[in-house]
């Protein structure tokens, strides 16, 4: 369906990392994705924007193996990862901070973080990463003995991101990190996101807040009822009249 995608501007070139081709997802009779194709390069931040129900979350879930696509191909690096289970994706460098944060409120903050490093056995290095995380999010260090369920919404989002980073991912999938957060908190999170990306982690960012996402992203895709309808560099999308009308309320 790529012939129907309206592409704006030139894409800066990054070495390839994630390639999604013709991805279809079905929930019973509901077809949530009708052939989505997109790419994320090494070191790139890619935003996926679209209205509520467009299929953003379904795309991330299919990519991370939380659900099985009914058609399509997903490759990470040179490896075909289509149909792998979620827990098999983690050692390949995939980390997914799911919608609604998905922290474990019945575990302490520290235990949540340790689960992020579940598959790693390099204890000393984990400690280093743990400290790095605490530098990014000092509040998590203060609260590490608390039950994660007692954290505020913003702190839970920080925990979800920190936990995802502890697996040392190549690719970080983020689902609506700004949802329900105060503007200053959102800003903190997006600032950290830039630092994380600067350290070499690629990001596929899903947001309803198009302005925020496109500003932070090198490249963006616009999803509408399960299909990519537009793509282009973040700035180009921000400047496009269609995006401004449909997603920025102008």
């Amino acid at each position: 369906m790529s012939e129907q995608v309206k592409t704006l501007g030139e894409r800066r070139s990054f070495p390839g990392l994630l390639t999604v081709e013709g991805l279809k997802v079905q929930y019973g009779a509901i077809q949530a994705l009708r052939g989505v194709s997109l790419q994320v390069g090494q070191g790139e931040v890619v935003a996926l924007i679209g209205a509520n129900g467009a299929g953003k979350t379904s795309t991330l879930r299919a990519v991370s193996g939380m659900l099985k696509p009914s058609a399509g191909r997903i490759t990470l690096g040179s490896r075909d990862i289509t149909g792998l289970k979620a827990h098999q994706m983690v050692p390949l460098g995939m980390a997914h901070a799911p919608e609604g944060r998905g922290i474990f409120p019945n575990l302490t903050v520290q235990e949540n973080l340790e689960l992020g490093a579940y598959l790693r056995s390099d204890t000393a290095e984990i400690q280093v990463d743990m400290e790095k995380n605490f530098t990014l999010f000092p509040v998590l260090k203060e609260r590490r003995r608390q039950m994660a369920g007692t954290l505020s919404g913003g702190e839970q989002q920080m925990l979800a991101i920190a936990r995802a980073l502890l697996s040392r991912p190549k690719l970080l999938l983020l689902d609506e990190p700004s949802l329900g957060l105060a503007p200053q908190v959102t800003e903190t999170i997006f600032r950290t996101l830039r630092d994380v990306n600067a350290a070499g982690v690629s990001v596929l960012l899903v947001e309803q807040n198009a302005h925020l996402a496109l500003n932070a992203a090198h490249y963006g895709y616009v999803l509408e009822t399960g299909e990519v309808v537009m793509a282009g560099p973040g700035k180009a999308l921000l400047d496009s009249a269609e995006v401004r009308r449909a997603y920025l309320g102008e």
Binding site: P98, N106, R163
Partner: protein, 319 residues
């Protein structure tokens, strides 16, 4: 006063057994949101495994220290294996089906075990050297469970006002030991962390790289092994074993788990102890015929006051 002490001791001995079985209900409910109605019957099968091992060892060996250890090991390992197979072939295929399907399957397995074990089926296999291997289902009538711990009075207070038997103390210590091991496993190890994560949300747990199927299988094995241990303690106390014991003890332990708040590990322990004590005091001060009625009445009372059980938080159920 002395009488009170005696009831306290008896109640605690019974309560720790309920607690061990209740822990199995609660852990499986934790990871699968399934009331494993076959749990008590798995326990019963474990008791028969221990029984067979005891008979095989003979009267002398069965009550030696290594004999008892072997009986417990055989029952617990055998049950772990049984739990593994039940999960793998009965529950796992139904994982994504409506919850009711698995629940009915659990009831089916429960009946298959408790009534299947009453059948008179068996065969003998001649072995070289004049030996023969005979395998048979136990049949419907209860059997006397061998005295693998020869009863001795360990402590007598006053004019036999309080009598503490060796098996009461040993049973209490074994149960306590198993609970401490479990507590350590669940709250201090990597596996326990994974288990608690799966119990909150297995889809998100998988995103951490946790092989959720394996964690669920291990949880089943662990809870089945605990049930086998508890079942043996019950059989020692009751000095009998029967195919229907699983239904009865299982139901009581289920009540204990619900009293404590199903899905909650410390809750199962407290629920078991409370139930054991309540039953003992009813039998001691009222009449033994009231025992079951009071147990269930107590359950209803707890649920009326705290619908999530003593330790449960209804509001904290995940959204």
């Amino acid at each position: 006063m002395a009488q009170l002490l005696q009831h306290l001791i008896n109640g605690l001995a019974a309560g720790t057994i309920y607690a061990l079985v209740a822990l199995g209900y609660t852990m499986v409910y934790g990871v699968l949101k399934l009331i494993n109605f076959a749990h008590g019957d798995v326990m019963m099968v474990g008791v028969y495994m221990g029984y067979a091992t005891a008979i095989g060892l003979g009267r002398q060996a069965q009550s030696s220290l290594w004999g008892v250890a072997l009986i417990f090991a055989a029952a617990m390992l055998g049950c772990a294996l049984l739990g593994f197979f039940i999960e793998r072939f009965a529950y796992r295929p139904l994982r994504e089906k409506p919850r009711l399907t698995a629940l009915i399957t659990a009831i089916g397995i429960s009946f298959a075990l408790s009534y299947g074990f009453q059948l008179d089926l068996g065969f003998k296999l001649p072995l070289p050297g004049g030996y023969e291997l005979s395998l048979a289902l136990p049949g419907a009538s209860p059997r006397a469970f061998p005295e693998i711990i020869r009863p001795t009075e360990w402590l007598i207070i006053g004019d036999r006002d309080v009598v503490i038997w060796n098996w009461q103390v040993i049973s209490f210590l074994i149960a306590l030991g198993l609970m401490l091991v479990l507590q350590y496993l669940v709250y201090r190890t990597r596996f326990g962390r994974a288990m608690r994560a799966v119990s909150w949300d297995h889809r998100v747990a998988a995103l951490m790289g946790i092989p959720t199927d394996r964690v669920i299988a291990l949880t089943f094995m662990l809870s089945s092994a605990l049930a086998a241990g508890a079942g043996l303690l019950y059989a020692i106390k009751d000095t009998s074993v029967s195919p229907l014991m699983g239904l009865y003890v299982g139901l009581k332990a289920f009540v204990a788990a619900v009293i404590g708040g199903i899905g909650n590990v410390p809750g199962a322990v407290v629920g078991g102890l409370v139930l054991g004590l309540v039953e003992e005091f009813v039998v001691g001060y009222a009449a033994s015929t009231w025992r079951d009625a009071v147990a269930f009445g107590f359950l209803i009372l707890v649920l009326l006051v705290k619908p999530g059980g003593l330790f449960g938080r209804v509001a904290a159920e995940k959204v």
